[in-house]
């Protein structure tokens, strides 16, 4: 194996090899190479990549070969001697081999005369045979052509050459092939074979020379694509012997391509039978698609499994794969990291658990001890009982003996203990000897009992007295005074041991013992119970419960020390627990100051402040939740860091006084910001807010118009509302609906900006504009309005002037609207078909300052009302109202020209505004407008440059910029508002800050029609979307307000309510 | 005044040029030069004629195979061909130099050649 290429593998395995040919593109389009490679893949063992065949400049064979290799197709890189000298060629050979090319076909190359650069200098430093020698030397001897050693990797290449059996002198051709093989060729690909007879003869001669045993011979075949191609090859390709038979077959064929493939397949079949032919080289020039078919039909499609095809460089897909792999690796690393972190976390968790277990085991030890003590106690109880029984028995016996006679000594008498040292003299009358003896033995028994039970003296004394008393009773003597019957302490039920509470055992025991000791003191049972309950709660961790119990106990008996102590304990414990709970997570890794470790890049002071703020906020949150203890703790912590923090102090004060923040109806867990706001706001406002909240449950359909109106007023209103704000009252149309359209003006910003800015110098926040917006006047007489004229961005009153407030024009249709929702039409129900009345209503009832008459009926695609008829309507409207009127055409440039001209003809001098002017009709309409000095609407589709272009065109025509309103085309909210906004903003900025006076016209914003065609304004009232009218009104008002901020100056709107809202907004902002 | 230079051999110009002119057969501004044989003609002479102001130059030699000096007119025609190439290289109309053949003593071809060349010269002048 010389190079281990797939081709070499196939040939050496004895399989009949198939190679293909791939001509690189005459461009840098690697995809073409990949495409061809993919066609050939799987049908050939290797593919020749030609080296600027016929001397036409193409992508280099090395590059294209690598691309093929990356596609999984093994390249046979062709190398000619025409274009490089030995230096360049060896360099490329090294590179090719290094990049995974394993087959090299050595050629002299076509003369440059044939190519597209016949003026070039042919190099021909060597010929193909010398090239073979050179590469063989590099491969086998590790030597460069000059003889210098190749240190490191030598090229590993399976060497090929070409042979033309049909060139002259014929008899020399096999000899020359032998020379090539001697020079180093491992395989041969012949010129295209059509003349099989001649080829067979050639092969015979080759065999005579034994060349076929020294190299693999692949017969070259080509499917003639057409008769023309075959003729061309015969005539113009030297050494290509296209036989007459082939020409005849093609000329007779119905489908020449099909026949071409058949011819090729036939030739393959025939060359297969020629001894010494090891494979075929299928050259389908610019017809790669034919190769799979040829290979299939020739029965050669079962290619051996490719071996040794390993791209060193990668195709884009494999790069992607590599990237994916790398990503995976990173992910794995990341996951390992994560796993490590997780393990660590697990470990620490386990540590905690272990600690817990340790504590738990300690607890259970203690429990066990208690249990043992209890068991022991019960054992002792049993013993006591037994002894008592015995005593009882003895007593009975005694009684019996008493009854029987004094002579009879009870059998137990011997077992009776001697009288104790402190045995009291028998009360009452003198005892008999026997009785004395019995008592003594009783005493002895009790002594024993005392030692067994470990009773203290008082207990013993109590027991003794009890027994004595009993005894005396039995005797009929009652010792006086009788002490209360003591329960044996061991029988006192132990308080239940708190289950999972790792309370210290001492603590748990101590009060119990104390309690037991105090049991004797006559205490109010209630108090005792409460104390016990308190202690129980205390130990079970319910500090609040404990406090409550103790406090109750104290309320009954304020002197009860026990309860007092318990209360103190409980409070302390509560405090401790709270701080522990709060600090545990943070203080685990706390810095000495009790703060989490400060990141290095953060200044210490700042870090502290940060935590002061955080603690204060935590305190406020706790306050809000009513968790005062936590609040106290948080504020205290804050104060510990910054003792002078007023907020923390105030918070602490409030927390200590159990003074929450009054936030009615606010659920716990509300965002702290909201709380802060609420906190900052005066109480009444908060209350009002709450009220409003109550008033506006989202599901509640607004049916009471008054309530709703009121609510809206409230919304607009600020608590410190100006005294008796003038309300714009709009009478409601009869019947249901929004009703009163009353919008109170917005309150104006109280302190001026300069005040609010504080110490910030003016030049920091003020940026005066260098440009100004044109002021355009619409209408005439008293009702004329001007828009524009600003020298600052919209409502930037602190930067410049806004002499004319933006205005609202009510849209009136020239015919009855077809698709308006009821919530809109109801306001104009009485005048919908009558534009003049409609306009009049707008002006008189809804206080319209301007009317925009939409000439929708003129649309040629709609009603196509004649210009004259439309003009008549327009004239009526003009006569009906005295406010400025905008005539807005249907949008068909030609029709609008006709209609608007007709209108101007009728109304003459009265100053109306015409629109829309587009690039299609600005000339005619511009001229008309100019004649009457009308302002015009220049309409462009959401584009800065188009807007400017149209303004320039109009100006060139003679229309002054102060007669132009720009319509930038509108998108309603949710329907592209942002595009409109940004285009308007850019136009405005260009006009104001870049002195682009061609963009300095005011905007007319025809938004009503956009909003009211949105489906949201048409869907009926429902639970999810809420009230239909309110929805539509808000959509229109919001669109208007957004576009006001973008610079809109004349807003064409439909709904009286949204118009009122918009005007209120403008009023409020100015 | 554009001149036309005519070069003839002893055998092709048997009539006095002035007689031809006065007979109105050839234009006045044709200047004749008579050589013993056109075979003696060299390219520089043809070119120099132009340099000296000729608008057109023509050579009249014996008929190719009937030259008095066997190959004189053949040589002349090769010189004329060379001169034509040079005129071409100089962006001139190669038709402004021409070789004509005439039988011994024939005047007619000379007259025709003169008229033809006068016409070519006039055309060339117009074209300028």
């Amino acid at each position: 194996m010389k190079a281990g290429s797939n081709l070499e593998n196939v040939l050496r395995s004895g399989a009949f090899a198939v190679t293909g040919e791939l001509g690189p593109p005459k461009s840098g389009d690697l995809e073409l190479v990949r495409k061809k490679a993919r066609i050939l893949k799987g049908f050939v063992d290797a593919v020749n990549i030609t080296d600027c065949q016929t001397a036409i400049v193409r992508m280099s064979s090395l590059t294209a070969g690598l691309a093929a290799l990356a596609e999984g197709v093994e390249p046979v890189m062709q190398m000619t001697c025409r274009d490089r000298n030995r230096i360049g060629m060896q360099a490329d050979i090294l590179g090719a081999s290094a990049l995974g090319v394993k087959n090299l076909l050595c050629l002299t190359g076509d003369h440059q005369k044939f190519g597209n650069h016949p003026q070039s200098k042919g190099v021909f430093d060597m010929d193909s045979i010398q090239l073979l020698q050179m590469v063989k030397g590099m491969r086998d001897e590790k030597k460069f052509q000059c003889g210098e050693e190749i240190k490191g990797n030598e090229p590993s290449l399976f060497l090929g050459c070409a042979a033309n059996p049909f060139a002259d002198p014929f008899e020399f051709r096999p000899v020359r092939l032998a020379k090539k093989v001697a020079a180093g060729a491992d395989f041969v690909q012949t010129q295209i074979i059509y003349n099989l007879e001649k080829f067979a003869k050639f092969m015979e001669m080759v065999r005579d020379l034994g060349v076929h045993e020294k190299c693999f011979i692949l017969a070259g075949v080509t499917p003639p694509k057409s008769l023309g191609m075959a003729r061309y090859m015969k005539k113009f390709v030297p050494g290509l012997d296209v036989t007459d038979e082939v020409l005849a077959r093609l000329s007779d064929a119905k489908d020449q391509r099909e026949e071409g493939i058949n011819i090729c397949v036939d030739i393959i079949r025939q060359v297969q039978d020629i001894p010494g032919v090891a494979g075929v080289h299928v050259m389908a020039i610019e017809w790669e698609e034919a190769v799979p078919e040829i290979v299939k039909r020739a029965g050669l499609s079962d290619r051996p499994e490719p071996k040794g095809i390993e791209p060193v460089l990668s195709s884009s897909s494999s790069i992607e794969k590599a990237v994916e792999d790398a990503r995976k690796e990173v992910r794995i690393e990341f996951e390992e990291e994560l796993e490590r972190a997780r393990t660590e976390a697990q470990a620490s968790r386990e540590l905690v658990i272990k600690e817990k277990e340790k504590v738990a085991s300690e607890i259970s030890d203690l429990k066990k001890q208690i249990e043992e003590a209890r068991t022991m106690a019960s054992h002792k109880e049993a013993e006591v009982r037994k002894l008592t029984e015995e005593i009882q028995k003895a007593k009975k016996e005694l009684e019996a003996s008493q009854a029987a006679g004094p002579a009879q000594a009870p059998p137990v008498a011997a077992a009776s203990p001697p009288p104790g040292p402190g045995a009291p003299p028998p009360p009452g009358g003198p005892l008999t000897d026997r009785e004395q003896k019995v008592l003594e033995s009783l005493n002895l028994g009790l002594q024993a009992l005392k030692s067994v039970l470990g009773l203290d003296d008082s207990q013993f004394e109590a027991l003794r007295r009890f027994l004595e008393a009993e005894f005396m009773l039995q005797l009929g003597q009652i010792p006086a005074p009788a002490p209360p019957p003591p329960r044996p302490p061991v029988t006192e039920p132990a308080p239940p041991v708190p289950e999972a509470e790792p309370a210290p055992a001492e603590e748990a025991k101590a009060p119990r013992v104390e309690e037991a000791a105090e049991e004797k003191t006559a205490r109010n049972k209630e108090v005792v119970n409460l104390v016990a309950k308190g202690n129980l709660a205390l130990h079970s961790g319910d500090y609040n419960g404990a406090i409550e119990a103790f406090e109750k106990a104290l309320s009954i008996d304020s002197t009860d020390e026990k309860a007092r102590a318990g209360l103190a304990d409980a409070k302390a414990a509560l405090q401790k627990a709270l701080s522990a709970v709060k600090e545990a997570p943070e203080e685990a890794a706390a810095a000495p100051e009790g703060l989490p470790p400060r990141p290095e890049e953060i200044d210490e002071q700042w870090w502290k402040e940060k935590w002061v703020i955080r603690y204060t906020a935590m305190g406020n949150v706790a306050l809000m939740k009513g968790d005062y203890d936590q609040a106290v703790s948080a504020f205290e912590k804050a104060l510990a860091l910054d003792a002078s923090n007023e907020k923390a102090k105030a918070g602490l004060e409030r927390a200590k006084n159990r003074q929450g923040i009054f936030i009615p109806e606010v659920k716990a867990g509300q965002a702290p910001a909201a709380v802060k706001e609420a906190e900052a706001a005066p109480k009444p406002e908060a209350e009002e807010a709450a009220e409003e909240k109550k008033e506006a449950p989202p599901e509640k359909p607004v049916e009471e118009p008054e309530a709703k109106a009121e609510k809206e007023v409230k919304k607009e209103e600020k608590p410190q509302a100006k005294p008796a704000a003038p309300k714009i009252e709009i009478s409601a149309p009869a019947g249901e609906g929004v009703g009163e359209i009353a919008v109170s003006p917005l309150s104006k910003e109280e302190p001026p900006l300069s005040e609010r800015a504080g110490d910030i110098p003016e030049d920091v926040y003020k940026e005066a504009c260098s440009g100004a917006i044109q002021s355009v006047t619409l209408g005439d007489g008293e009702k004329a309005i001007s828009v524009g004229g600003e020298t600052a961005l919209p409502f930037y009153n602190f930067e410049g002037d806004m002499p004319n407030p933006p205005r609202v024009a009510f849209e009136v249709l020239d015919s009855e609207p077809e698709e308006w929702p009821d919530v809109l039409t109801k306001y104009f129900a009485d005048c919908l078909g009558d534009p003049a009345a409609w306009a009049k209503k707008c002006v008189e009832e809804y206080n319209a300052k301007s009317i925009c008459l939409s000439l929708i009926s003129t649309d040629p695609n709609g009603a196509d009302v004649a210009p004259a008829d439309a003009a008549a309507v327009a004239q009526k409207v003009v006569e009906a109202v005295d406010v400025p009127i905008i005539f807005w055409g249907c949008g068909n440039a030609e029709k609008d020209t006709e209609t608007l001209r007709e209108i101007t003809g009728r109304i003459g001098e009265k100053k109306v505004c015409l629109g829309p002017l587009t690039d299609a009709n600005y000339r005619t309409l511009g001229a008309t407008a100019m004649a009457f000095q009308y302002p015009v609407v220049a309409s462009t589709p959401i584009d800065v440059n188009l807007a400017k272009q149209l303004n320039i065109l109009l100006e060139n025509l003679g229309v002054h910029l102060d007669h132009i309103l720009m319509d930038p085309s509108i998108g309603a909210v949710g329907y592209g508002l942002e595009y409109t906004y940004s285009v308007m903003e850019r136009i405005r900025l260009a006009a104001l800050t870049q002195q682009d006076d061609k963009l300095s016209c005011p905007f007319i914003v025809n938004l009503g029609r956009e909003v009211w065609k949105a489906k949201e304004t048409r869907l009926p009232t429902d639970g999810m979307l809420g009230d239909q009218e309110r929805r539509g009104v808000l959509m229109e008002a919001i669109t208007a307000s957004a576009l006001l901020l973008a610079g809109g100056e004349l807003m064409v709107m439909r709904h009286p309510k949204s118009a009122a809202l918009t005007e209120a907004l403008v009023e409020g902002l100015l | 005044m554009s001149r036309i230079k005519a070069i003839c051999c002893n055998y092709t110009l048997s009539v006095e040029p002035d007689a031809l002119k006065s007979a109105g057969l050839v234009p006045e501004d044709v200047e004749f030069e008579r050589l013993p044989c056109t075979g003696r003609l060299e390219v520089p002479e043809l070119l120099d004629a132009f340099t000296q102001g000729a608008a057109a130059v023509f050579v009249v030699g014996c008929e190719l195979d009937k030259c008095h000096n066997l190959s004189g007119s053949r040589r002349a025609s090769k010189r004329v061909a060379q001169a034509k190439k040079i005129l071409e290289e100089l962006d001139m109309d190669p038709g402004l130099v021409e070789m004509f053949f005439a039988g011994r003593g024939e005047t007619e071809p000379v007259v025709e050649a003169a008229r033809l060349m006068a016409a070519r010269a006039a055309r060339a002048k117009k074209a300028q």
Binding site: C81, R82, R86, T108, G109, D110, H111, K113, F114, G122, F124, D125, M126, D127, S128, I129, Q130, Q133, M134, Q145, A162, A163, N164, A167, D168, P169, F172, V175, R176, A178, K179, A182, A183, Q191, P238, G239 | E42, V43, P44, L47, D48, F50, T51, Q82, I86, E89, L90, D91, M92
Partner: protein, 222 residues
């Protein structure tokens, strides 16, 4: 012999357009033999330049002269004396002559009137053909005296290539395949077996790729 060919008049007129006095200088060596730069050609060229410039409305004074050779100092050195007052010397010698004048005559502005084309033989009157490339490493003994370097389009050492057909080279039907000729020649000499030998890669240093060449014959040095 060195074969050369006069440059196009347009190119030459451009070269001399600024000259008022011009010396057109012929050579009686190779270029005279190949009728490119001898006395006659000097005369024709001088006339042509006069005509060309006169048509441009320019006047020029042209002197015509022809040297025995322009590649020998003894002929060109006098130019230092009598040619320095010409605005230019338009040499009609091969490139050797132009170079030599340029080398030796510091004050002479020498211009080439000819393109020097190849080393060729005169096949017949008016036809010359390349026979040698001056590669400096003759292999003619191996090729029956026929030069593959000069006469094969690809300078093959081991031809003929697959483009040889009917004795013709594929690049042009007028061009014969020299390797076919070599094969025929060696076959005729019963030396066709020599064609089986692989000719090793050439050393092109002697062909000028090793820099300008020179030759020294010590016994003749002064």
């Amino acid at each position: 012999m060195i074969i050369a060919e006069r440059k196009k008049l347009g190119e030459l007129l451009e070269m001399v357009k600024g000259c008022r006095r011009l010396l057109v200088l012929g050579c009686r060596g190779c270029v005279a033999v190949c009728s490119a730069g001898g006395d006659k050609e000097v005369s024709v060229l001088a006339s042509a330049i006069r005509l060309g410039l006169s048509r441009q409305g320019k006047e020029i004074e042209i002197e015509e002269r022809t040297l025995v050779r322009q590649c020998d100092p003894e002929y060109i050195d006098p130019l230092n004396e009598d040619a320095s007052d010409f605005d230019a010397v338009l040499s009609m010698a091969c490139g050797v002559g132009v170079n030599f004048i340029a080398d030796r005559c510091g004050k002479v502005n020498v211009l080439p009137a000819l393109d020097t084309t190849f080393y060729g033989a005169n096949l017949s009157s008016g036809e010359w053909k390349e026979m040698c490339a001056g590669c400096g490493a003759c292999v003619l003994h191996l090729t029956g005296g026929l030069c593959p370097v000069a006469r094969c389009a690809k300078s093959l050492s081991n031809g003929p290539c697959g483009g040889s057909q009917n004795g013709r080279c594929e690049i042009h039907p007028d061009v014969s395949c020299i390797w076919q000729q070599i094969y025929d020649k060696l076959s005729g000499l019963n030396r066709s077996d020599e064609m089986k030998n692989i000719m090793p890669m050439r050393d092109w240093t002697s062909a000028g790729h090793g820099g300008p060449r020179r030759r020294i014959r010590e016994d003749l040095l002064p």
